[in-house]
């Protein structure tokens, strides 16, 4: 078995679990905070087997939107952290000013070792894009607030841009841009 596949499997586990946990915790915490009445049913309908039921459409919409945001937050924060960390790490190699700034903000450990790979960013970004797509589709279907769909779309576009930029930085190491030398 290739090392790449092993690493991909290992990296994918965390965002996969966080995606489910984010959604589940979003539902439970919202229901507990707002003291919402709900019950769970077990009817097999195609691929779906569990139904969390709320008494009225307004509550369902609210709980679904909040749980979607919670799921997105749990995926977006680490993804953005990995992207920013990698960008800063690469910039610090070429620009000493970045090192000074990092020292000022007391986040020097971000640039002392490279423990974030492009594969990790790519996998996290893929999970974020998948969950954003689910939120956008649910917003179109009026199952979630419109602003959650807009927010999900914006975050995923931002992360895609960040991932592409990280990829460019990685490829620059192998094929350096000519203008850097002239």
């Amino acid at each position: 078995m290739s090392k790449l596949l092993k690493r991909a499997l290992k990296i994918s586990l965390t965002p996969a679990i966080l995606m489910i946990v984010g959604k589940f915790l979003g539902i439970i915490i919202t229901s507990l905070i707002y003291d919402l009445e709900f019950f769970v049913e077990n009817n097999i309908q195609g691929l779906l087997s569990i139904q969390i039921l709320y008494p009225n459409p307004e509550t369902t919409l609210f709980v679904n939107s909040i749980s979607n945001i919670s799921m997105l937050t749990l995926l977006a924060i680490p993804t953005l952290y990995f992207i920013i960390k990698t960008s800063i790490y690469q910039t610090s190699l070429q620009n000493p000013k970045t090192v000074i700034k990092m020292t000022k903000f007391n986040v020097l450990k971000w640039i002392t070792k490279k423990d974030t790979s492009f594969l990790q960013i790519f996998i996290w970004c893929t999970f974020l894009v998948i969950s954003s797509s689910v939120v956008v589709i649910q917003s179109i279907q009026s199952l979630s607030y419109t602003w959650t769909g807009v927010l999900a779309g914006t975050i995923s576009l931002l992360c895609i841009w960040g991932t592409i930029r990280t990829f460019e930085i990685e490829t620059d190491k192998i094929y350096p841009k000519e203008n850097n030398y002239y």
Binding site: L9, M19, I20, K23, F38, L48, L53, Q138
Partner: protein, 191 residues
């Protein structure tokens, strides 16, 4: 030169690779299905009384259904606990009397309930439309298109079957839709 143990490990790794790819794909698919599964739905909660015993609707309305040449495409929709809508297509017909059992009504509560019916056809086809209960007729629309609001009282634990009847003196050459609103309220005896 690689030894036998390393060779076996290599072959085993090659066999495992397609399965690992499948697992990787599943790691992406399973969370999506789970998230969709966890999406909340709306459904009327079952009401619980103080003893924790589930109580169902106090008055239960069920569509009788069944095939009929004149009465087709029947639907009964529950709007809320006390309001229902019934609709049926009345097909083209010769001049005659027609009737069909439409709704079974069961009063599960311990009090008398008053059922009020209001309905009319979109176009006036000079038909007399009535509800029939225990061979007693309750007019709901006359041949001039005027509507009435018949009321029926249903006793506790009583189960009745309501018939819809149409009578027209001349043949009707087209289909028409008939909609009827049903309201349920507690029966208060008038002095």
């Amino acid at each position: 030169m690689p030894n036998k143990k390393e060779n076996i490990k290599k072959i085993f790794g090659q066999i495992l690779e397609p399965f690992a790819l499948g697992v990787l794909a599943l790691l992406f698919i399973i969370p999506v299905i789970t998230v969709m599964n966890l999406t909340p739905l709306t459904q009327q909660l079952k009401k619980l009384d103080v003893l924790g015993v589930t109580t169902e609707d106090s008055v239960k309305l069920t569509l009788v259904e069944g095939k009929h040449e004149i009465f087709t495409s029947e639907t009964l929709n529950k709007i809320d606990e006390d309001n229902y809508t019934y609709s049926v297509i009345l097909n083209k017909r010769a001049s005659d009397n027609y009737s069909k059992p439409i709704i079974e009504i069961e009063n599960k509560s311990s009090e008398e309930k008053l059922l009020t019916f209001f309905g009319q056809t979109v176009t006036n086809t000079r038909s007399n439309i009535s509800l029939i209960l225990n061979e007693k007729s309750y007019r709901i629309q006359n041949s001039k298109g005027e509507t009435y609001k018949p009321e029926i009282v249903i006793a506790p634990e009583q189960k009745i079957i309501l018939f819809l009847s149409i009578e027209n003196l001349s043949g009707i050459q087209f289909s028409e839709e008939y909609d009827m609103d049903i309201n349920i309220s507690p029966y208060v005896k008038r002095s």
